[in-house]
C-alpha cells in the first residue's frame, strides 16, 4: 500500500479524534461567579435545586468544584490537538442556546435635541419595534444581535460603553441637532404563555443607561 494512503488514513483519524475531543463541553466561559448572580442563571439553579432536592448554595458549590476539575482535565486532553485545530480553524465550540434567557433585555437608543429646552429624550431605535427604526437594518443582522446580546451582561461593561459611544458618534454625524445619545436596556421577565393569554405582562425596569454627550 502506498505511503500516501497511510498518511491520508492517519490524517483522517487525527482529524476525527480532534473534532470529538474538542467538542466535549468547555465550561470555562461559565466559570464567572458574578455571572452566576444573573436572574436567568439563578432561576436555573433554583429549578435544578428543586429537581435534585439539593439546597441551592450546596448545588452551586458542588457544580463549581466539578466545573473547575472538568475544565482542568479537558484542557490537558485537548492540548495535543489545540494547535492543529486552531490552525485549521476547526475548533468545535457548540454552545448554542445552552440556557434560554428568561429575563431578556431589549436595547433602546434615544437622543436629546439641542433645541429642546425641556431636555426630553426621544427614542430613535428599539429592538423589534417597527416605530423606532434608526439603523434597524444593521441591528437586524446576526452579528450585531450577538454584540447587543453580550452588552446586556455585566461582564461586557467595557464593550457596552464603547459600543454606545460608537453609535452616538454615528448619530452626531448624521444629525447636527442631536446633543446627546442615551443607550439603555429594558429588562423584564418573560411571561408564561398563560400570563400572555390572561394579558398579565410582568413589570420590567430600565437597566444600565449610558449617556454620551456631543463633544465640544
Amino acid at each position: 500500500m502506498e505511503i500516501r494512503n497511510h498518511l491520508i488514513a492517519a490524517a483522517v483519524l487525527w482529524h476525527a479524534v480532534a473534532m470529538g475531543v474538542d467538542a466535549t463541553p468547555d465550561t470555562s466561559a461559565g466559570l464567572k461567579r458574578s455571572a452566576w448572580k444573573e436572574p436567568t442563571v439563578q432561576a436555573e439553579f433554583q429549578s435544578w435545586s428543586a429537581m435534585l432536592g439539593v439546597p441551592q448554595p450546596e448545588l452551586e458549590d458542588q457544580l463549581w468544584t466539578f466545573a473547575v476539575g472538568w475544565n482542568a482535565a479537558r484542557r490537558s486532553v485537548v492540548k495535543p490537538f489545540h494547535r492543529y485545530l486552531s490552525w485549521a480553524q476547526c475548533t468545535q465550540s457548540w454552545q448554542m442556546f445552552v440556557a434560554p434567557h428568561t429575563t431578556p433585555s431589549r436595547l433602546q437608543i434615544q437622543e436629546r435635541l439641542s433645541a429642546d429646552a425641556a431636555e426630553t429624550w426621544s427614542t430613535i431605535f428599539e429592538e423589534r419595534d417597527p416605530d423606532h427604526t434608526w439603523m434597524a437594518d444593521a441591528f437586524g443582522v446576526e452579528r450585531m444581535r450577538a454584540s447587543v446580546f453580550r452588552w446586556s451582561w455585566p461582564s461586557y461593561e467595557t464593550s457596552w460603553k464603547r459600543g454606545c459611544s460608537a453609535l452616538a458618534r454615528l448619530r452626531f454625524a448624521e444629525s447636527q441637532s442631536t446633543s446627546a445619545v442615551r443607550c439603555r436596556f429594558w429588562q423584564a421577565r418573560t411571561p408564561s404563555p398563560e400570563q400572555v393569554i390572561r394579558g398579565e405582562l410582568p413589570k420590567g425596569k430600565w437597566m444600565r443607561p449610558v449617556v454620551v454627550e456631543r463633544p465640544e
Partner: protein
C-alpha cells in the same frame, strides 16, 4: 482481528475515491452562503460596526489577528479582504479551482476572527467545512470550466470519499455537542420543556415579536423535546448514512436501520427544525450552512439516481 488488519481496512477505506458530485453540491452551497453572508452584512450597514476598529467607526477595539501586519482592522485593509473573500467564494461556487476554496477559508477566517463578540457558531461551521472541502475534489464537478473543456476530453471527477464522511461527522459532532450542553431545566425532557418558548421571546434572536404563539405553547413544548432529542441522537445519522451506503452487506442492525430508513427520518426532522428556526429567528448563516452539509449524507450514486 489484529490491529494490523484493522489499520489495513482503515487505510483502504480512507483511500477510496468516488465521484465528486456530493461534495461539489456542498461546495456550491457553501460558496454562495459565504458570499451572500458578507454582501448582506455590507448591504445592511453593519460591516463597519463589527469589523472596523473602534477608531474607524467600529463598536469596539478588535483583535486584529492576521491583519496586524497589514495595518490592522482599518477600512483600507478590511474592505479588500472582504471583497477578496466574496470573489473567492463565488469562484469556489463556480468550481474554478481548489485554490478558490482555500482562499475563501483563509479570507473568511480572518474577517470572522476580527470580532469575537459579533459572531456565531456558523463561523466555526463554515471555516471547518471550508477546510475539509479544500482537501476534497469538490472543484472537479459542477465546474464552469467543464463548459470550456475540449469536446471528448475526459476529466478527473473523483474525490476522496473519506472527506465526505468527515463532513457528515462534522454535522453530527456539532448537533451532539450542542445537545449535551443544553443542560437547562427548560431543555431536558424531565424539565418543563419551555426552552423554545423563552428563546422565541428573546428580542435578540426573534425576527418579529412572538407573544402571539402563546395559545400554541404546546407546540413549542413538543418542538423543544423534539429538537433536543434530534440533536442528542445525531450519531444515528452517521450510522444510518453508513448503513444505507453499505446496505448490501449483512447484519440485523443494518437491515433494521435501512428498513426504518433512519437517515431519512433524521434528515427530515433536522430539515423541519432548521425551517422553523429560519422562519422565526435570525441566527445568521447557521441553518443554511447546516443544511448544505445534509447533501454529504447522500452518496453521489444516490444523487445521480434522484436527479435522473
Amino acid at each position: 482481528m489484529s490491529l494490523g488488519s484493522n489499520w489495513g481496512r482503515w487505510v483502504e477505506g480512507c483511500s477510496r475515491t468516488e465521484d465528486a458530485l456530493s461534495v461539489a453540491i456542498v461546495r456550491v452551497a457553501i460558496g454562495l452562503i459565504v458570499a451572500g453572508h458578507v454582501v448582506h452584512l455590507a448591504w445592511s450597514g453593519a460591516l463597519p460596526l463589527v469589523w472596523f476598529d473602534a477608531d474607524h467607526g467600529g463598536l469596539r477595539d478588535l483583535d486584529e489577528g492576521a491583519l496586524r501586519w497589514a495595518g490592522g482592522a482599518v477600512p483600507a485593509v478590511v474592505v479588500p479582504v472582504c471583497v477578496g473573500t466574496v470573489v473567492s467564494a463565488l469562484a469556489m461556487a463556480l468550481g474554478l479551482t481548489r485554490w478558490a476554496t482555500w482562499a475563501t477559508w483563509l479570507g473568511f477566517q480572518i474577517i470572522a476572527d476580527l470580532n469575537g463578540q459579533a459572531g456565531g457558531s456558523y463561523d466555526e461551521l463554515l471555516t471547518a467545512t471550508l477546510f475539509l472541502l479544500g482537501w476534497s475534489g469538490a472543484h472537479r464537478r459542477l465546474s464552469v470550466l467543464r463548459f470550456f473543456a475540449r469536446p471528448g476530453s475526459v476529466a478527473d471527477t473523483s474525490s476522496l470519499a473519506c472527506v465526505r464522511w468527515l463532513l457528515v461527522l462534522q454535522l453530527v459532532v456539532m448537533y451532539t455537542s450542542s445537545a449535551i450542553q443544553k443542560v437547562s431545566a427548560h431543555w431536558v425532557p424531565w424539565g418543563d420543556h419551555m426552552a423554545l418558548w423563552y428563546i422565541l421571546q428573546q428580542p435578540t434572536w426573534q425576527r418579529n415579536p412572538m407573544l402571539w404563539v402563546a395559545p400554541f405553547a404546546g407546540l413549542t413544548r413538543v418542538a423543544t423535546v423534539t429538537s433536543w432529542m434530534f440533536e442528542l441522537t445525531a450519531p444515528l445519522l452517521l450510522v444510518g448514512a453508513w448503513f444505507r451506503e453499505t446496505r448490501t452487506r449483512a447484519g440485523v442492525v443494518r437491515s433494521l436501520f435501512n428498513r426504518l430508513d433512519v437517515r431519512r427520518l433524521q434528515l427530515l426532522v433536522g430539515l423541519g427544525m432548521h425551517i422553523g428556526i429560519e422562519a422565526t429567528m435570525e441566527v445568521g448563516a447557521f441553518s443554511l450552512a447546516s443544511l448544505a452539509l445534509y447533501v454529504a449524507c447522500f452518496s453521489p450514486d444516490e444523487l445521480r439516481r434522484a436527479a435522473s
